[in-house]
């Protein structure tokens, strides 16, 4: 009996896999990120931006290589490394050669290793990994490989820019660092300590703390410590519910200085902070939204809002990813030979519609770009987030941030 069941089930399986590979687009990109579960909102928003970017920037303009269209296919990895690897295999079997992923450095680590092994073991179905948001510095240092490209600034670059801005602010004498207890949180804390010491030894780090990730119900005790420490500023790499919980709690319980963050915008967070976060939350990001980077970007954003009225473009790097990939495919003259595309991507210079120039550093495949520190406000915005009237407005900009930063990457090219 069980064998019959199994047989039937597996037949169904091959049918479904077969059916879903019957789409018609010429160049397919697999988007492997959470589309269900607690992190689904970030994943879904990212997928919408990717789909829109492919439509608007490629297909509506006649496609690539004389009319080939581009399609982004969503794969739900439930933010699980295991599921990501299964979905990666499914994507490869569907003939997809470009993988994009961003949420969770843990998943990115699993993917980059799996892709390296896959490309080594299966030279005729190699794939590229375009990482648009996983910022663990290791990915472009000791764990780098030829197939991985990062379009976001890594945690160190962001901290470098953030601390450049912080030391300008002479009111800041004491800093409290708090983050989630995992590799990224630790990387933020290490970078902050190191760079503050370097750039402004007079600034005192009065607290440096990690809390369990995704498990804290009430941040009040942490907020108390921040307030009692007499800190003038807080640095945190928190994201999602941990960012919102921490931020709200710190503000509510009497802290009055700025909070420097990596991920305190969009996905409902801007709306939830609302008035309470005004002029308090600072955000490090790339791509200028307020003021908008270019007229082209304004048109694109408006078109995006027409399609997704409650959507945000909170990850402008997604559009850079699609733009640079398109340019690389055109340069290589093929979308099938990923080595050629990768070679074209390496050391590419690209004019971003969100302002500034982008440069894909060949040593480690880290994109170098302008970094902006913005403030959460409702004044003088071109575009708000979450339809809340609030958004992030640039205060300072670091051009081509960390252009010359060292890397431990020893790139092996095929």
């Amino acid at each position: 009996m069980k064998n019959i069941t199994k047989f039937g089930a597996v037949s169904a399986l091959s049918l479904i896999i077969g059916a879903s590979s019957a789409f018609a687009a010429d160049i397919k990109i697999a988007f492997i990120d959470p589309l269900s579960g607690p992190f689904a909102s970030t994943g879904t928003n990212g997928l919408h931006q990717f789909e829109f970017a492919a439509e608007y920037m490629v297909n509506d303009k006649g496609g690539l290589l004389d009319g080939k269209t581009m399609e982004v296919v969503g794969f739900d990895n439930k933010i699980s490394p295991k599921e990501s690897l299964i979905q990666l295999q499914v994507a490869i079997d569907q003939g997809i050669r470009f993988i994009v992923q961003g949420n969770s450095s843990g998943v990115a680590n699993a993917l980059t290793e799996a892709i390296e092994k896959h490309n080594k073991r299966n030279p005729d179905s190699r794939v590229l990994f375009l990482n648009y948001a996983a910022v663990d510095p290791a990915l472009t240092n000791e764990k780098c490989n030829f197939w991985h490209f990062r379009f976001d600034a890594n945690a160190d670059i962001k901290m470098d820019a953030l601390t450049d801005v912080m030391v300008e602010n002479k009111d800041i004498k004491k800093v409290y660092i708090i983050g989630q207890d995992y590799s990224f949180g630790k990387a933020v804390s290490d970078a902050a300590n190191r760079m503050l010491k370097d750039k402004a030894p007079e600034i005192e780090v009065v607290g440096d703390e990690l809390h369990p990730i995704g498990k804290v119900k009430d941040f009040t005790p942490y907020a108390r410590k921040v307030v009692s420490s007499g800190a003038d500023a807080v640095i945190t790499g928190n994201w999602g519910a941990d960012m919102l919980g921490l931020g709200k709690s710190i503000i509510e319980n009497g802290f009055e200085g700025p909070i420097y963050t990596y991920y305190a915008a969009g996905s409902g967070i801007t709306a939830a902070f609302g008035e309470s976060g005004k002029d308090r939350i600072r955000l490090i990001s790339q791509g200028s939204i307020n003021p908008i980077g270019s007229e082209e970007a304004r048109e694109l954003y408006n078109a995006f809002l027409k399609k997704y009225p409650d959507g945000n473009i909170d990850q402008s790097r997604i559009f850079n990813t699609i733009g640079m990939l398109s340019q690389a495919i055109e340069e290589a003259g093929t979308a099938d030979d990923v080595v050629a595309v990768a070679t074209a991507l390496e050391s590419m210079e690209y004019e971003s519609m969100w302002g500034g120039k982008l440069f894909m550093r060949p040593q480690d495949h880290q994109l170098i770009q302008d970094m902006h520190v913005g403030v959460h406000t409702n004044d003088g915005l071109d575009f708000d987030y979450d339809q809340s009237g609030y958004g992030i407005k640039n205060e300072s900009t670091v051009e081509m941030a960390s252009m010359d930063s060292p890397t431990t990457c020893e790139m092996k090219r095929p």
Partner: protein, 318 residues
């Protein structure tokens, strides 16, 4: 010193919130033998309903209506789901609630989406009640304390001073006898389940603005509620109260003070090994209390189960 006082207040808020969940759960558990895994899901429903109602009618009506809706849903779940599964035994019942918790989370995402809801403290209560050396105590927290203490007193009154309470207390210990006396035990079960889930709903309404209203809010709280009632002792309302406060204060203090494992080990005479960074136990030596604050209740529970399986105030074992 001031910080201790502040932490006491914060721990009290956390503990009382936990109590509102565990009180209902411990009643349900001891009466019906159901480890209701979906209890925290009703807490989540409370927050979401209150948010939806507050958009139209304001916070206060939300506080009033949302728990009622949650209670009715809870009673419905008992009547049309649990009662059916009850005949198969306790394990399927438990697994039923487990599945229900998953389904409720999916439903909430289906209806409200996956983002955090902008459900905020009402303006009337959005001010600082008082400050202790720079640490402000928001008025809403004071309000939370009053609501939960009020509910505790109400429960105590109902259970000890009214006829229904007497029957419930009797049914806690001798369900068969109570049934033999002609009381409608299924109806009592449904009522207790409804009231228990409504209490969880109240907790959701008042915790939603502070702790955030998002689809993962039930999962974050889920198992800790069990831990509370197991530590307190199954079926004991006082046990639930004491365990809730204990957990509230333990976690609050553990987070507020950076006690390091190295310090503790050195204090009891174990010297820090040389070359700590190469030591396989290095992570253990570097432990700090905030890191493990949220798993302390689990450690406490395992110890209690090993040495006193009936819990702090419990009279019967499992």
């Amino acid at each position: 010193m001031d910080l201790i006082l502040v932490n006491l207040i914060d721990g009290l808020v956390t503990g009382l919130l936990l109590f509102m969940l565990s009180a209902g759960l411990t009643l349900i558990f001891s009466m019906m033998g159901v480890l209701n895994f979906a209890h925290a899901s009703f807490y989540m429903l409370g927050a979401y309903f209150a948010y939806q109602i507050s958009l139209a009618l304001g916070f206060w009506l939300g506080l009033l209506i949302a728990p009622l809706i949650v209670g009715v849903i809870g009673a419905g779940v008992e009547r049309y789901g649990l009662r059916r599964v009850h005949q198969y035994g306790h394990v399927p019942e438990l697994i039923f609630t487990f599945g229900l918790a998953l389904l409720i989370e999916e439903l909430v995402q289906f209806i409200w989406g996956k983002n955090q809801m902008p459900y905020n403290v009402p303006d009337v209560l959005n001010f600082t009640a008082f400050s202790i050396s720079g640490n402000s105590i928001p008025a809403f927290k004071v309000f939370m304390i009053f609501v939960s203490v009020g509910i505790f007193l109400g429960l105590l009154f109902v259970l000890t001073k009214t006829r229904v309470g007497m029957i419930i207390q009797a049914a806690l210990s001798y369900p068969r006898t109570v049934e033999a006396l002609g009381h409608n035990v299924p109806l009592i079960f449904m009522g207790v389940f409804g009231v228990g889930t409504a209490l969880a709903g109240v907790a959701g309404v008042i915790a939603g603005p502070v702790l955030g209203t998002f689809p993962g809010m039930a999962f974050v709280l889920g198992s800790i509620v069990f831990v509370t009632i197991v530590i307190g002792g199954l079926g004991s309302l006082w046990g639930a109260l004491v365990a809730s406060l204990l957990i509230g204060w333990i976690t609050t203090f553990a987070k507020s003070y950076n006690i390091e494992m190295e310090g503790i080990l050195n204090a009891i005479g174990i010297a820090t090994p040389e070359n700590l960074s190469d030591n396989p136990l290095r992570d253990f030596w570097a432990l700090t209390s905030p890191q493990i604050a949220d798993i302390l209740p689990y450690i406490l529970m395992v110890l209690i189960l090993i040495f006193r399986p009936q819990g702090l105030f419990g009279k019967r074992e499992s």
